[in-house]
């Protein structure tokens, strides 16, 4: 079970990195949110992956022998909620950029950082 989780997290990180290296903005933000999903999966795996036993310490024992550690699950809930809001925000952001500039190519996105002029110097503000 833990191996399946590890492989899944690895595959999702791979997909996320691949997508976020793309020039298409929508792919970039989907890639980032995939990496977030993988981080959540890793967090979940830190609760161990034993099975359906409840996290109760049996009478006479001092530590939890079987059952999932509930704390990482609480943590992952927080992380999922935060990640969801960030994904929503970034999708709207890309949509707004696409509507305003009619372009989703990351390389063409130079509104905040104009290209240098022909002579290699930064462009004069207000000339472009």
């Amino acid at each position: 079970m833990i191996w399946a989780l590890a492989l899944a997290a690895g595959a999702i990180v791979g997909a996320g990195v691949y997508l976020s290296l793309s020039r298409h903005l929508l792919r970039v933000v989907v890639g980032v949110s995939l990496i977030g999903a993988a981080a959540n999966l890793v967090l979940l795996a830190m609760a161990r992956a034993t099975g359906p036993e409840p996290p109760v310490i049996r009478a006479g024992e001092v530590e939890l022998a079987a059952g999932l550690d509930p704390l990482p699950q609480a943590l992952v809930l927080t992380a999922i909620v935060i990640g969801f809001s960030l994904t929503c925000f970034s999708l709207v952001l890309v949509l707004a950029i696409a509507q305003r500039t009619r372009d989703t190519d990351g390389d063409a996105l130079r509104a905040a950082e104009p290209h240098p002029d022909r002579d290699g110097k930064p462009p004069v503000e207000g000339d472009a």
């Binding site: 943590l75 960030l86 707004a96 996105l109 509104a111 905040a112 004069v124 207000g126």
Partner: protein, 487 residues
């Protein structure tokens, strides 16, 4: 029992964010609430600093769960100093925004987002829990994204996206590292984590610590992961960019200092040596970017990166003296850098442009502004008797004491290049005559609050410079507490 003070640096801004959100239809009410809250924040943080100074580290945990189980807030001298400087920066930025220098687009969500940002920063300074720290980083990220996108023009959205991608990645890597460290130790609190980590050997711990450090380095804007900073900061209006530039990257430095100084066990030598060279590269790349650009805000944004390098170098030296140097540097830098961005806003108001090639003549037209610029500018360069001189001296002295000659040479060369790029601003914006001979500065300006804010910060810089002893004492006390007991 002063423990009820501890959560206030978070609760106060969060409550203000809610109140200003509710009163979004009434800008005047919003402004009054914001002003009152910033005043209260200043009072609370000063009280906290006094309390921590006399009675030592204060702790409190939530929900009736004691230390290793519940989430803990802890304020030691370092945290209290950072909270105080945050309150000071929030108040001066707000004061500045009362003037009409580079006000940006008015928006009902400006105050709620600003206070959410302050809550995130305050939370990162008072928390003693790794996962809680991640939550504050996320709050800072969301709030700063909102502030970046507030303008709504393509350049604002462009900046927000570039800021988002690398910063979100940094936060996710932090989450991953937090998860792994929890898996290794079963603890998230700084104190129990410190106890549990000492039992593990470096080889097991290495990759996870490296992941954690990488995540924080993205947040701090270290080379080569610094591209998001100069891409996004220059699109903000002056009072906001001062707040961003003063506080956000320094939260990263603070967290790195806290974790490497008081929570994680000693790193393997190659990692600290690597960190030292990252620091050197950060200094150099930042200052070269500053030397290239002609836009006032871009020059200053690249200077942040370069100065982050000095702070990282202090941390990478690992000794007490190095860490003291970093604490001193961080506090000096927050004041000076925020002030420079505010003064850039004043220059913009006078000349109508941030591009140095189109500006000029300010020394003749506004000599007081020229003097006001010279104080933080020369302090950033590191000339005595200003605060930057002591900060750089402390870092350099420790680098030389550790026989790190190459690093010291890089730091000195970067100081020279910083002087060059500051001279460029001075010569272009202040000294040379304005390119348009008919130009005269606008006569009807409402800049009194802006001059007050920048003057106050300049006075703080001068005070740190002339009397470095109290500041140095605070830094030493902060580092001693950090190294002794963790946070």
């Amino acid at each position: 029992m002063g423990n009820w003070l501890l959560p206030l640096p978070v609760i106060l801004p969060l409550a203000t964010a809610l109140l200003t959100m509710v009163s979004w239809r009434r800008p005047r009410v919003q402004g009054l609430i914001a002003g009152a809250s910033l005043g209260a924040l200043l009072a609370v943080s000063t009280a906290l600093l006094g309390l921590v100074w006399t009675e030592g580290t204060q702790r409190t945990s939530f929900g009736g769960w004691p230390a290793p189980f519940g989430i803990e807030f802890a304020v030691d001298p370092l945290g209290a100093a950072m909270v105080s400087i945050t309150a000071l920066m929030g108040a001066t930025a707000a004061l500045f925004s009362l003037g009409d220098a580079d006000p940006g687009t008015p928006s009902p969500t400006l105050w709620p987002l600003t206070f959410a940002l302050l809550a995130g920063v305050g939370g990162a300074f008072v928390t003693a829990d790794l996962f809680n720290l991640y939550v504050w980083f996320e709050l800072m990220l969301v709030a700063s994204l909102g502030l970046l996108a507030l303008g709504g023009e393509p350049r604002h959205l462009d900046a927000a996206l570039k800021y988002f991608v690398l910063n979100a990645l940094g936060t996710l890597l932090l989450l991953l590292a937090v998860g792994y460290l929890y898996g290794l130790t079963g603890h998230l609190g700084f104190v129990p984590l410190r106890g549990a980590l000492t039992d593990l050997d470096g080889a097991t711990l290495g990759p996870f610590v490296a992941l954690l450090v990488l995540a924080i380095l993205i947040k701090a804007g270290a080379f080569p992961l610094c591209a998001w900073l100069p891409a996004s900061y220059p699109t903000l209006p002056a009072s906001l960019v001062a707040l961003f530039a003063g506080l956000l990257t320094k939260v990263g430095i603070y967290v790195l200092l806290r974790l490497l100084g008081g929570v994680l066990p000693a790193l393997p030598a190659f990692l600290t040596q690597g960190l030292a060279w990252v620091a050197a590269a950060t200094m150099l790349v930042g200052v070269l970017g500053a030397a290239f650009h002609w836009d006032l805000r871009r020059i200053l944004a690249f200077h942040i990166i370069s100065q982050i390098g000095y702070m990282l170098l202090g941390i990478a030296l690992l000794t007490k003296a190095g860490q003291v140097a970093t604490v001193f540097y961080v506090i000096h830098h927050i004041v000076v850098k925020a002030n420079l961005f505010l003064i850039a806003g004043l220059v913009f108001r006078m000349t109508g442009t941030y591009d140095l090639r189109r500006a000029g003549g300010l020394y003749v037209a506004r000599p007081a502004l020229a003097l006001l610029f010279a104080i933080p500018a020369l302090s950033l360069v590191g000339l005595p008797p200003l605060s930057g001189f002591w900060a750089k001296l402390l870092v350099l002295r420790e680098a030389l004491a550790q026989q790190q000659l190459a690093l010291a040479v890089v730091a000195l060369a970067v100081g020279l290049l910083t002087l060059y790029s500051m001279l460029k601003i001075w010569l272009e914006a202040f000294w040379k005559p304005h390119p348009d001979p008919d130009w005269s500065p606008p006569s009807h300006v409402g800049l009194t609050p802006a001059y007050l804010a920048t003057g106050l910060l300049a006075a703080v810089t001068l005070a740190f410079g002339v009397m470095p002893e109290p500041m140095l004492q605070l830094a030493e006390r902060a580092v001693e507490t950090l190294r002794e007991a963790g946070p």
